[in-house]
Amino acid sequence: MGVVLRNLQNVVPLRRARLRKDVETLRHILGIQKFDLGVICVDNRKIQRINNIYRNKNMPTDVLSFPFYEELRPGKLPCPLYRDELNLGDIFLGVEYLMKQCQQQSQDLHGILTSVTAHGICHLLGYRHETEEEWKEMLQKESYILNEFNRFTGRQLVPLTKKCSQDG
């Protein structure tokens, strides 16, 4: 198993292979290759609906994470007994929302998608940003991940955490 990638929208043209490759690099950096992960790209309508159902926020957002393990200590990898439990959860990427952000900030979409996915993976690993302390811890982790990513790939991605405080 590995990364289950789905593109459920037709608003933003995506390069699936490129996104998958970046996500695989993130998994390698975090040492989570043995865990399954879902990355689902959706439009504003869909992410708004999910945001409304699960967070009572009727608006589109950039990313929503649904951890398989809900009580993980930040950064502590789960030790499942069964193969079925080698799963970290799903990340929904609001690609339409992110595309608009990229256009406003003149950024590369796929770079943003990778940064946002790193943020989402941190949530799946138990990181939160509801308190100042949590926020610092998560920012530190994200920075580490993206610095390593930039070192491998020569790109210049920056953490999402320092910009975002709304997703979950």
């Binding site: 289950v4 789905r6 292979a17 998958r20």
Partner: protein, 287 residues
């Protein structure tokens, strides 16, 4: 399977019912037809069976008694029963309703410069991009998936509070990519997800469309090469699958295309259905 797809695309699987079988039996005795009637018409097998079934319910199909040329169709020597008349009336109503539902008499346009060629229920969308020819072939026959949820509700006698669901056509489609001066085309058998056709706010979990099989085939409409290796995506490396999807997207076969194809196919299917009703009405009435 891609191997039989070319045949599947061009010819739908039809299950013929016994009621459509036409075997005429000569009329021996009849309690249905007065011995003084002007004509004695043979029963079809289905009518014979219906009269058997009708015996218990008291229903007897009646023949029109013509006293000369039939008022329904001048010079028509085929069977005309009250059932046929009722059928014809039903078809007239059905055609009226279907035409009301028809969004437009013309087919929706595909974006991206695709040229449409239609041959009955089969259609081809063709596009040329930097010398590469991309052809997408689909057939609207058997392209409307059954709505099991609605059928189950009806079976249980539950009245649906909403109006009848829209009929949506989601045909399998074959994409052929031919590079200039190439002997072979790269052929993709693509499907829409089963049981997950979007009905507005459904929880879709699958990609809008998927590639099922990939194969190299001789260029043109020649014989399908059975001995060509066919890649099945069921157990394919996911990275390779994504590259194949990106390959199609670069040639205009992306999620937007897939959504527009549903619109086009649905309109085509509806158009063909109405045409079929018209032909059926004409046939029943002998027009």
């Amino acid at each position: 399977m891609l191997k039989t797809l070319s045949r599947a695309v061009s010819s739908a699987v039809r299950i013929s019912t016994t009621s459509s079988t036409r075997v005429l039996h000569p009329l021996r005795t009849s309690a249905l037809c007065s011995p003084n009637s002007g004509t004695v018409r043979p029963f079809t097998r289905s009518l014979w069976m219906m009269s058997d079934a009708g015996a218990s319910s008291g229903y007897r199909p009646k023949l029109f008694r013509s006293k000369g040329p039939s008022p329904v169709s001048r010079g028509c020597v085929s069977l005309h029963t009250e059932g046929d008349k009722a059928f014809g009336d039903f078809l007239s109503d059905e055609m009226k309703e279907e035409k009301k539902l028809q969004k437009s008499k013309t087919l929706p346009q595909m974006s991206g410069g695709w040229a449409l060629e239609q041959n009955g229920t089969e259609a081809k969308l063709i596009r040329t991009l930097s010398g590469e020819k991309v052809t997408v072939t689909f057939n609207v026959n058997n392209s409307v998936p059954p709505n099991f949820e609605e059928e189950a509700e009806q079976a249980q006698g539950q009245k649906s509070t909403e109006s009848e669901p829209d009929i949506v056509s989601t045909p399998n489609f074959v994409v052929e990519v031919t590079k200039p001066a190439a002997k072979h085309s790269l052929v993709f058998d693509c499907h829409y997800p089963e049981d997950e056709v979007s009905h507005g706010e459904g929880e879709e979990e699958s990609d809008i469309f998927s590639i099922r099989e990939v194969s190299f085939q001789p260029e043109g409409d020649g014989e399908w090469k059975e001995t060509a290796y066919t890649l099945n995506t069921d157990s394919l490396d996911w990275a390779l699958y994504d590259h194949l999807m990106d390959f199609l997207a670069d040639r205009g076969v992306d999620n937007t295309f897939a959504d527009e194809l549903i619109e086009l196919s649905t309109a085509m299917e509806h158009h063909e259905y109405i045409k079929f009703l018209e032909d059926l009405s004409g046939f029943v009435k002998c027009n």
